[in-house]
Amino acid sequence: MDNPEIGQPDETADVAVPVTLTVNGRRHDLMLDPRVTLLDALRNYLGFTGTKKGCDQGQCGACTVLVADRRIDSCLTLAVMNQDVPIVTIEGLGAPESLHPIQKAFIEHDGFQCGYCTSGQIMSAVALLEHEKPPASDTEIRERMSGNLCRCGAYPGIVEAIRCVRDAARNPVAGEAA
């Protein structure tokens, strides 16, 4: 079937299209302007405001979410381009009463100050530890977390938190004792 893109669209046309997003295991049917980025869809249309906008240009990582288990900057992709794939945001990770180990570690090691970059940092850390080759050294953690800027300078705590969760996973007994 052909799509009706033939002919010059009217300058002002911004007709909404159906978009289905699967976020944190739940399906959401929306009608969206095709211009809506995945980030804005999550924040403005679905209420997942845990994912933050720091630059809207792929330059800070505050908008990091997992799409099909990969971390991406949700500000540089359109919502319509991310249908039929599982999307996980910070809200899908854990709640204050049932925190994910990385969330706990961020609190314990003070891996944040203002908290604005934190959702992105945590989503990156989850991808790093659960879906990518585990980092072998602190230097590697630092390099692979460098797509998430933190203006408050919480980097030392972030590295500690990730290292501890990695070590606990490698060596559960020692990890618990620590």
Binding site: D40, G47, K52, C55, P96, Q113, R142, S146, L149, R151
Partner: protein, 704 residues
């Protein structure tokens, strides 16, 4: 259960669970029924006049509710310029009231539409033509213009200052250092963009603003004034419970907030405005560039005989901001002949504004670099040089007035020991590891302590829970946690039984969360309120207490914090690559309230200091005056990979003459001097003295 050692302990942040789950709601996260989106239209020239604006396409674009320009904007008024009365806006002027363009990125219109996408697009459809003139964006040239001035004071302190006879003392000094240092424009760049969400009640009798504000009381007063609101008739409420960093850029009130509220008033529905990253390079302040001539005269052993520090910097065309660069020079070392001078130019840039460690941060880069040059010239160890010129008492008072407490010598000792200073390469460019040259550097840090009047309300329930309420702020500084610690300590409760509400003008007022004064100002009020509640607590009765306490009154002591900072850098000279391999900061800030949040805050200051030393700079096109680095890919600040081996230590001694807890505050201190420590280490590593920040690969190459 009585908690032990609540004060000082490294307690986890009480707001941590909300922040790590995405549950903390920042201003830009607020969504209200019927809310529409505003986007500013901004100037693309830096100086001139608007010739015409064609809004016809924007008005017709789908979903557009209003396009506001100077043609149809409601009258808006200058915000206040009165810091002491909590009515301080960043500009002494209001957009959309005239045709003149003073700086690049100035607001010249506002578009409101039903969706963000439509509002952004419609703002692009506004066509503006200008009569433009060549803007002034070159500091050296601007300082020579007739509109440059020599302001007498800043923050109540003299900028044009002299003690002794500097010229005579210099002439007699056998050793002289006479150098000019420059620092670039820096932007605060909090990761959270500035935002405002405005909602009016149906009858117009109340306005609620969800703001990115470090000072909600000021936001309320200033925005009300901009809107021409009489606060006795209209209730204005400002909320900012979570703030994604500010570093000074969210202290003063800015015009975009008033425009948001004005649009909401016109349209009768809530309006949200979030600045774009690009707009954040024009509309909410920055640290101005400086050029600083420092002259030091000493005897051959390094004893300072004369100091002269002359600073040139600038403000915008729409506000008189003074970056108080030379003040710390007047007090850091004992020196009987000392002069400071200050020239203030005017440039076509957005308004500069306080940025973390205003004044001290650029000032100490120059002074502490010059001290390093003097150490090298005299062959005295840099730490010994500082000890030799130690100010036992406040030099501004003819060495009469005592410090409330000062442990800077201990900072030097402890730092030298922990850092292994005695292993430092004695000669520049004398140690290497493979291709990497290794160097050590150090610098002092200093920042004044202050506190101001604050109120607070504490309520106690019969079952032993306490709630603190105050219109103060947590910018990531740990205020939520620290205030709970104070109350827990006073009332003998576990921290988990204490909760805290902040940053709402309906709560008791408190001062600006800037100048490292929050803990010192709000803490005593919490303690006082809790003390008054102790009888209720002992009787197991509910109670409620609102207190207002004044700021500390002059008590015959000078209040100042100090520190010593040490850096080890590795420099790959052929490729100009510099890595800060280790950094140690030792700080004397009085009592530490929360070891964990204190440490983090200091990390942040050091990391911003490393950024200042090695990469941060905003560039303006020299011809058009347009910001050419208006994003986080062109304006670099450190990423995780830049940061290694940061260690922090405190001289944890309560200050006996400053406030009830003896805690002087530590937000700004670590940033002062940090860049000098790095630059001094680069000199030690390479023999290359960099006097113009930042130290980029090209800097090393050009001088190597």
């Amino acid at each position: 259960m009585i908690p032990k050692n609540v004060i000082g302990a490294g307690i986890d942040r009480v707001d941590g669970p909300l922040k790590v789950t995405g549950g903390a709601k920042y201003a830009g996260d607020v969504s209200l029924d019927g809310m529409v989106y505003a986007v500013p239209v901004t100037s693309t020239i830096a100086r001139g006049n608007i010739a015409s604006m064609d809004t016809s396409a924007a008005v017709k674009a789908p979903g557009v509710r209003i396009v506001m320009t100077r043609e149809n904007a409601p009258p808006l008024f200058k915000g206040g310029n009165d810091y002491d009365d909590a009515c301080q806006s960043g500009e002494d002027w209001m957009p959309l009231q005239d045709d003149e363009i003073y700086y690049d990125g100035q607001i010249i219109g506002l578009v409101v539409a039903d969706t963000l996408e439509r509002a952004i697009h419609a703002a692009d459809l506004v066509e503006t033509s200008y009569q433009s003139c060549r803007p002034m964006v070159d500091l050296t040239a601007a300082l020579k213009k007739p509109d440059a001035t020599q302001p007498a004071t800043a923050l109540g302190q003299p900028l044009q200052y002299e003690r002794g006879d500097v010229d005579k003392a210099l002439a007699k000094s056998p050793v002289r250092i006479d150098r000019t240092y420059t620092t670039p424009v820096q932007h605060h760049n909090p990761l959270e963009p500035h935002a405002s969400v405005a909602e009016w009640s149906d009858d117009g009798s109340s306005l609620t603003l969800h703001e990115t504000s470090q000072w909600v009381v000021n936001s309320r007063n200033s925005i009300a004034r901009m809107l021409g609101i009489d606060q006795s008739k209209v209730t204005v409420r400002v909320l900012s419970p979570f703030l994604g960093g500010g570093f000074g850029s969210k202290g003063y009130a800015w015009a975009f907030s008033a425009l948001t509220a004005a649009a909401a008033r016109e349209l009768g529905c809530p309006v949200k405005l979030v600045l774009s990253r690009r707009q954040m390079y024009s509309l909410n302040g920055h640290r101005p560039s400086t050029t600083q001539a420092v002259t030091l005269g000493s005897d051959r052993r390094g004893r300072l005989k004369a100091t002269r520090h002359l600073c040139g910097t600038y403000t915008s065309k729409v506000f008189q901001y003074i970056e108080p660069v030379v003040l710390s020079t007047q007090l850091l070392y004992k020196c009987s002949s000392l002069r400071t001078g200050f020239d203030l130019a005017r440039m076509n840039t957005g308004t500069p504004t306080p940025m973390r460690g205003p004044g001290e941060t650029p000032g100490l880069f120059a002074l502490e670099s010059a001290m390093d040059e003097l150490a090298f010239a005299t062959g005295v160890d840099p730490i010994d040089l500082r000890r030799l010129n130690y100010a036992e008492r406040d030099p501004r008072t003819n060495n009469r007035q005592r410090w409330s407490s000062k442990h800077l010598n201990e900072c030097y000792d402890k730092g030298a020991e922990e850092f292994g200073w005695k292993d430092r390469p004695k000669k520049p460019a004398s140690r290497r590891d493979g291709r990497w040259l290794i160097g050590y550097g150090m610098a002092s840090a200093t920042y004044p302590a202050q506190n101001t009047s604050s109120s607070v309300k504490v309520s106690l329930t019969a079952d032993g829970r306490a709630e603190i309420e105050v219109a103060s702020h947590d910018l990531g500084t740990g205020t939520y946690t620290i205030l709970c610690q104070f109350a827990a300590n006073e009332l003998g409760l576990p921290v988990s039984k204490v909760s805290c509400r902040l940053a709402d003008t309906f709560l008791p007022p408190s001062p600006c969360a800037g100048g490292s004064q929050t803990v010192a100002s709000v803490g005593p009020a919490v303690i006082a309120a809790c003390k008054n509640l102790l009888t209720f607590r002992k009787a197991g009765m509910p109670g409620e207490e609102t207190v207002t306490i004044p700021g500390s009154q002059p008590n015959g002591f000078s209040w100042q914090s100090f520190g010593a900072q040490f850096a080890e850098v590795r420099v790959d000279a052929a490729l100009g690559r510099i890595r800060v391999h280790r950094f140690l900061g030792i700080y004397d800030v009085g009592q530490i309230i929360n070891e964990k949040t204190a440490r983090s805050q200091v990390h942040g200051g050091i990391i911003q200091g490393i950024g200042m030393a090695l990469m941060e700079a905003t560039a303006f096109d020299p011809y058009f005056g347009r910001v050419m680095t208006p994003n986080l890919a062109d304006y670099h600040f450190p990423v995780n990979a830049d940061i290694h081996g940061i260690r922090v230590s405190f001289i944890d001694e309560p200050d006996p003459h400053f406030g009830p807890m003896g805690a002087r505050g530590l937000g700004e201190l670590p940033l002062t001097g940090a860049a000098a420590a790095v630059a001094n280490a680069v000199f030690n590593a390479t023999g290359i003295r960099v006097r113009d920040l930042p130290i980029l690969p090209d800097t090393i190459l050009a001088k190597g």
